[in-house]
């Protein structure tokens, strides 16, 4: 190895320390029109199989509802996609090129996967506005965020989102002081600011009124197309209005797919009715 190449290597800040390298190295490739592949995923906790040989494909631009009994593994599945939980086996790919299992949470997030948690989690000490600002898409490198300023365009977007989530009057409120439902909205807003390619939305309407639910449904449908959206929800009205006539609904049960198909089919599936929907 020549001195020159060694020097070049040392000076190349992307390679000296792996953690200094920009993360989303590979480019997203959705040639096959599939954005997310989950294949043969299994995970167990202290011997309990929470996810059992799960296979799931999400198309680019698709809006997918996932339902299933409590404890079916829906949240765990999202944990796996976002890098929070490592599966015991299986593969998870984002597009054709990005192997999610090789990446950690920030890398996955930067690759374009955003998530809303089941239990709303916001930065309690920061204001509503700041929460959204932090979520805003953009370079996450330390020096960049140090110098980051809000451009006019970004401000418009922020105002738009604040309006959308109904917190127009409270932009300077500490997020910790919001009510449960308001936090839900704020988190949805943060997701919107992040503009991810894939949105994972875990029970967005818990604690919302019926009308708010409708608004949320509208919002999510409008996102589909440009983004892929995966929604987990227990409220059937909401799921129905999301799924419409021709979107796919997946039913998880005991860690694997129990049924998949259009809402009608699923609704009439005997097993689904038995384990989930009730009479």
């Amino acid at each position: 190895m020549s001195l020159q190449s060694t020097m070049a290597e040392v000076l190349d800040r992307d390679h000296v320390f792996s953690f200094m390298a920009p993360q989303s190295a590979a480019n997203l490739n959705v040639e096959k029109n599939v954005l997310l592949y989950l294949e043969g995923i299994s995970v167990s906790f202290d011997g309990f199989k929470a996810i059992n040989d799960l296979n799931l494909y999400i198309n680019d631009g698709e809006l997918r509802c996932i339902i299933g009994p409590n404890g079916a593994g829906k949240t765990t599945m999202m944990d796996i996609i976002t890098g929070k939980t490592r599966p015991d086996s299986g593969a998870a790919w984002f597009g054709q090129t990005i192997n999610l299992l090789d990446m950690d949470e920030p890398a996955i997030a930067q690759a374009g996967i955003g998530r809303k948690f089941q239990k709303p989690t916001v930065f309690e000490y920061l204001t509503v506005f700041e929460n959204l600002e932090l979520a805003m898409a953009g370079d996450r490198a330390v020096l960049r965020i140090l110098g980051a300023r809000i451009s006019g365009e970004q401000r418009d977007r922020l105002d738009e989102v604040i309006d959308l989530i109904g917190l127009k009057e409270l932009p300077q409120m500490r997020a910790g002081s919001l009510s449960h439902g308001q936090k839900q909205w704020l988190e949805i807003g943060m997701l919107l600011m992040q503009q991810p390619r894939l949105l994972l939305v875990d029970e967005p309407v818990a604690g919302m009124t019926h009308q708010e639910m409708d608004r949320t449904a509208e919002l999510l449908t409008s996102l589909a197309g440009k983004h892929s959206v995966v929604v987990v929800e227990h409220d059937m009205d909401f799921v129905r209005s999301l799924a419409g006539k021709d979107r796919t609904v997946t039913v998880l049960h005991q860690g694997s797919v129990l049924a998949e198909g259009r809402m009608e089919q699923v609704q009439n599936n005997r097993k689904v009715v038995e384990v989930y929907l009730g009479e």
């Binding site: 009994p69 009510s179 308001q182 009124t209 019926h210 059937m236």
Partner: protein
């Protein structure tokens, strides 16, 4: 059974509850409704003593509840299922249920079996940490935990949140049953109208910290819904 009069509450400078009046008749199921952020949870927390109130009174079975400390409230017969579940995450399911036992008279300190009949999942997961349960399982645990103290008044804050449809139905049935068969008084916060209609006898609507409407469930008409429950 529970009488609230002229209740005012502040978060720091901000006046959250304004002269709230609410009465929960014994043996009935009262549903508290309202949009997000109007103060439903806050009201329940005032009843449970988590917040100090500025003025007003809260009477339970004729006794002044505000004079009692927080930990005495379960002893006089109030069970509480908080919003967000508030499970003890590092305690096992069993331990979560056992927490309320010392409230009971000696000799009766056992987790009643009917809880496991209501929520078979809990029996399955006895030894698992509460924090590991799925959201819905936690909600069931929270209800079960509140029932352990053998309450006369059960206060539930959005108990169906995150629960699978058939279990929601079941919870509805359970609330009815507890209400009818075991003569348990219920105060329920609920956003979902169908559910509220199904289980509630009476309703009370909060709007921006004020109790604006109340009556028997049948009186809850579209007009009211439109005015106070839609955005």
């Amino acid at each position: 059974m529970l009488e609230i009069q002229g209740l005012n509450q502040y978060y720091g400078q901000s006046h959250t509850l304004w002269d709230v009046e609410l009465s929960v008749p014994a043996g009935e199921c009262t549903v508290l409704m309202g949009r997000n952020g109007v103060g439903k949870t806050t009201l329940l927390q005032c009843i449970m003593g988590h917040h100090s109130v500025k003025s007003g009174s809260v009477q339970f079975k004729g006794e002044d509840l505000l004079k009692k400390s927080v930990e005495q409230r379960p002893r006089v017969g109030i069970g509480y299922v908080p919003q967000g579940r508030q499970i003890f995450p590092l305690l096992t399911v069993e331990e979560n249920l056992q927490i309320g036992l010392p409230v009971l008279p000696r000799g009766k300190r056992r987790i009643p079996d009917f809880i496991f009949d209501l929520f078979p999942v809990l029996a399955e997961m006895m030894k698992r940490r509460g924090g590991d349960l799925s959201g819905g399982q936690q909600q069931q645990l929270a209800i079960g935990r509140a029932l352990v103290v053998d309450p006369q008044l059960l206060i539930l804050d959005e108990p169906t949140e995150g629960i699978q449809p058939n279990v929601v139905q079941e919870i509805g049935d359970i609330i009815r049953r507890l209400n009818r068969e075991m003569d348990l008084t219920v105060l329920l916060v609920e956003q979902k109208l169908p559910f509220a209609r199904k289980v509630g006898d009476r309703f009370c609507i909060l709007d921006r910290g004020r109790a604006v409407a109340k009556g028997a469930m049948a009186e809850l008409d579209d007009q009211l819904v439109k005015e106070y429950l839609t955005v």
